[in-house]
Symmetry: C2
């Protein structure tokens, strides 16, 4: 199989890839995302996505299953130290794909959705994408100010959920008019308890900023507020935890 | 009010504090934990805990409410640059407490509990502590190999839940015999769906390693397996998300 071997860190491809891997919003400028590690790469292939470039560490290259290389338009083999430097992880993977990416700002109407209103933490965003995908939601809309969905940290935490969802980012709250499904929010003091509430389907759940919650622009669009019973009396749950409970409740109330 | 002012980074107190703040397991050696920021400090005070030392940044010291200083046996005022260096956060807080800490290896019997079986990610551990506290669980047992409960990252993610819980760490699975409540685990293929299952109370939920799940030693002790319906067909949820669903289900089935 034809491949390009690179040993120099001054190579342009290497420099671009390093930036893409290390800086969270660079995928928007480069028009491509970096999937590191076999789990994410396999998840992308399983959804029929086609990498533009497959990148392997030199030490791994002799063992690479042929289909992991053949699926890409181009194969690059990097010196192990270069791969590790690009990765930035303590235990770097030894493979990755570059995937063409273009911004999507079109909100789909009528599909079960999750709205992220300035959720900051990449781990939380990734966890919510996984829950969304697991519970049958099809679209996630990240409003301006939310962590970059295709950054390495969110991709890692998302464990492949990105490829199962229609992802929109960088839009303002007024784009939510397009949703055309009831928008639900959680509240600490208003609405029915979620385990007793009648939940509409399809619907959209809004999840807010870790400190401030959902902002007034999104709140104003809400059709329904629900509360999560917290008998222990703590003031709030982690947003990824709250999202899991809400999305699960929607999924099971729909199945009943 | 009497206080000690420190401007030198070579000061022993500063060096110890820096290590305590920056290295995740050092609290065990020092016998004290570092609570940075007013949210954690207030949460500790609200639970009646008494800091040994209150530490303030110089620029904040003139505005410090007197009760935030009086509650501690000793007050230290640090040059702002020193405080920032100790913190390691991008936006360092300007106050913190040192709290005496001693290891607890005694598992309490008969109380609703959560068992962490080598959960690795500090954000996940913190999120689970918050959920445990919110949903009326009283004890969290971190088996050997779990992230250090009193590290800065877990403390930050826990948002004060630490102080509402009896926390045990560093024990082996055989210590769970002490629990004397039914141990529940989640499974991808066994047991009733959680929203239909009859859940015992009090109980203990076991949550496992992000990649491998609950290990065989804990699995063997389980009285009941439950499944979380995932109509979207994804293989797994984030462990913090799964914990939220399970602990919430216990809380509401108990309240019904």
């Amino acid at each position: 199989m034809k491949f390009t071997e690179i040993h120099s860190r001054d190579n342009t491809f290497v420099k671009d890839l390093r930036r893409l891997s290390r800086e969270s919003g660079v995928y928007r400028r480069q028009g491509q995302v970096w999937l590191e590690g076999d789990h994410l790469c396999r998840a992308a292939l399983a959804r029929g996505l086609k990498p533009s470039v497959a990148v392997f560490a030199e030490s791994f290259w002799p063992q690479v299953p042929v289909e992991w290389a053949q699926c890409a338009s181009k194969v690059v083999v990097l010196a192990d130290t270069l791969f590790a430097d690009i990765s930035g992880l303590e235990s770097p993977a030894r493979m990755g794909y570059l995937l063409p990416w273009s911004p999507s700002v079109t909100v789909q109407s009528g599909v079960p959705s999750v709205v992220l209103d300035r959720v900051q933490d990449a781990g939380n965003v990734g966890s919510i994408l996984r829950s969304a995908s697991a519970f049958g939601f099809r679209q996630v809309i990240a409003l301006k100010g939310t962590a970059a969905l295709w950054s390495q940290k969110v991709l890692r935490a998302g464990m492949g959920a990105h490829f199962a969802l229609h992802l929109v980012e960088g839009v303002e709250a007024d784009a939510l008019a397009q949703l055309q499904v009831p928008l639900l929010v959680t509240s600490s003091h208003r609405g029915d308890l979620i385990h007793r509430a009648h939940l509409p389907w399809p619907c959209a759940w809004a999840m807010g900023h870790e400190g401030q919650g959902v902002g007034p622009a999104v709140e104003a669009l809400a059709a329904q507020s629900v509360r999560i019973a917290q008998p222990g009396g703590e003031e709030s749950l982690n947003v990824g935890a709250a999202a899991a409970i809400c999305l699960h409740a929607s999924a099971v109330s729909q199945a009943l």
